[in-house]
Every structure is written in C-alpha cells, then in structure tokens.
Symmetry: C2
DNA sequence: ATGATAAAGTTGACGTGTCAAGTTACCTGT
DNA sequence: ACAGGTAACTTGACACGTCAACTTTATCAT
C-alpha cells in the first residue's frame, strides 16, 4: 500500500492535486476571493458587476449583445445583472431610435465615479500580481496560457 | 479608460482582456468545458462528481471533513453531492464504530469501475495539455502559479 | 459526572454560471 | 405587402459555489 508503483498507493492524492488543472482551479478561486473582497470593501459591488461596468466604460456605444460577444458573459446573466445595475443607478439604458430592440448602455455619473475610483486600484492589483513574476516568467505565462487555451479546444486526447 | 494616455482609445477592450486575471478566467472556463464534456460523454458524470470520486478512490479511509480539507470543496456542497453519489450507487458510506458522527466513504464496484476507466484518460488529458508546453515552460508555469497564489493572499496593493 | 466547547455533517439561503425556449422587432426575398 | 428567417433581448430552469446557522455527538476541564 505504500509502494509508489502500486495504483492504490496513498500518495495519489498528491499527484491528483498536482494536476495542472487542479492548480489552476485553486489559483482562480483565490484570485476571485481577493478581487471580490477588495471590490466589496472599496466599492460595494461584486466582481461580475465590476466586469460589466468596467466594460461599459471602456467600450463605446455598448449594447447587451456587444457585451456578450466581448466578454463571453452569458446573455441571460447579463440581462439580469443589467437590470440590477440600472435599478441601482449605476447604468442607464436607452432605446435605439432606429431599432427599438436594442438598448444602448452607458454609465451614470455614479457608475462612472465607481469605475474612475476603482480602475486605478484594479490596475494596481494587476501590477502587484504580475510584479511577483519576472519579465521572463510573465511572458512565458502568457505564452503558456495561449497554448493551453488552444489545447483546451481539443476533444480527444487518447494516446 | 484602460489607457492612461488616451482615455477614449478604441482598443481599450483589448487591454482589458489582457489583464492576467481575465485571461485566467477564460482559460479556466475552457478547460472546464473540455473536461465536463469529456466526462459526460465517457462516464455520464459531472466534473465535481469526478473530483469527488477520484479523491475517494485515491485517499484511504475518506470522510466528508477529510475531503473538504483535501480538496477545498465546500462541506455543504460535498454533503449534497455525496448524497447524490450514494443514491446513484457510486459511493457507499458507513458509520464509524467509535464515533457515530463520522461516515466512512468508499467507492462501490460501479464507482470504482468508473474511476478505473477514466483515471488513465484524465491523466492522458493532463499529459496532452502539459505536452503542448516545453519542459521549461511547464516548470515556469508551476513556479508562476506558486507566486500568484501567494500574491492572491495579499489584501492591499496600493502603491 | 457535567457543562462548555468543538467537531462532523446537514440544511437553508442566495448569488452565479449555463442552456434553452420565448417574445418582440427587424430584414429579406418574392 | 407579407411570410420566413433572424437578431436583440428576456425569462425559466437547474446545477454549482459560498456562507452561515443548525443538529447531533464527542471531548475536555473542572
């Protein structure tokens, strides 16, 4: 039972947890906790709220469909989140003149002030995170992410 | 608003998406889709089901609390998932003799056969994924994940 | 012994993520 | 001009994740 070659060996959990994907899950979860806590504390918003208002701020002439395409966030989720954000007065939506299906999204003054206050801080966070890596490590990381994303599109990987 | 030099620059969305954390979110999501699809197709189970039964298989004398500590999965979620897994006949649980609070978890024959069938395939997937990286890239990636995890514990990052 | 404390697991509540179907409005070919 | 298709959202359904309160049982200090 203690032989490393034995398929029932108790150190398999170690191996399991060294699966790259397990490590990424855990990293992701910790980063989310960090960002969520920070945003809740300093701006009273959630991480998804933040992603949406930051995107609305950074894109011109935003609509739900456009946000969906740009961020990959689900249309349904966006629809509900946007209702919440408009009812809280952070986003305002205005019907298009020509096409009454489309709603143009803009930040209200309050929404804008949150983004203006938080964007530098969120950028500082990115710098802090990437600052723990060397230049080489950072560029290698981006390259590895590229490769892994491509590999994630494959559906069969039997030998 | 992502470019300090040109607040209205039209390529801002690009920069936003180059935030390391955004890239990790997207990578994570694609890896999850890949693994979930694969598991659903070949074993009819979800990714969380898989994590749990793979852990039960690899650990000796498993209990809910132990799983919780080892995997970081929420106790509540584990409790519900385990009920589903036992009712589906993949896991069996048995009360401890000394301490009637604890339930020892083991795989049923069916659960075990799923793990035995899928573990090599999931390992093959890991090899496939890591195989797209060079040795150096892989070790740099692990190192970077370590560093980022540590950085994710920090709560303040103002300059 | 026994009362405070804590551990194992369960349950409830609530936000998030994902898929699919539905509604309304526009567009296009005849 | 109008039928069929498609686009922009909305709504519904359901799994997942996360937090906290709760129940039951054990432990430990006195």
């Amino acid at each position: 039972m203690l032989d490393a070659d034995d398929p029932e060996s108790p150190d398999q959990d170690l191996k399991l947890r060294q699966f790259l994907t397990y490590r990424l899950v855990r990293l992701q979860s910790r980063l989310n906790v960090q960002a969520s806590r920070y945003l809740a504390e300093h701006a009273g918003i959630t991480l998804t709220d933040w992603r949406i208002i930051a995107m609305i701020d950074s894109l011109d002439n935003t609509t739900l469909t456009y946000l969906n395409r740009e961020t990959g966030l689900d249309k349904g989720q966006l629809s509900r989140k946007l209702r919440s954000l408009t009812s809280r007065g952070l986003v305002s939506s205005q019907q298009d003149n020509q096409d009454s299906r489309v709603q143009h999204l803009t930040l209200t003054a309050e929404g804008k002030s949150i983004v203006d206050a938080m964007l530098p801080r969120m950028r500082a966070r990115q710098r802090f995170l990437t600052g723990t890596l060397t230049e080489d490590e950072l560029s290698a990381l981006h390259r590895s992410i590229d490769k892994l994303e491509r590999a994630a599109e494959t559906t069969e990987f039997e030998t």
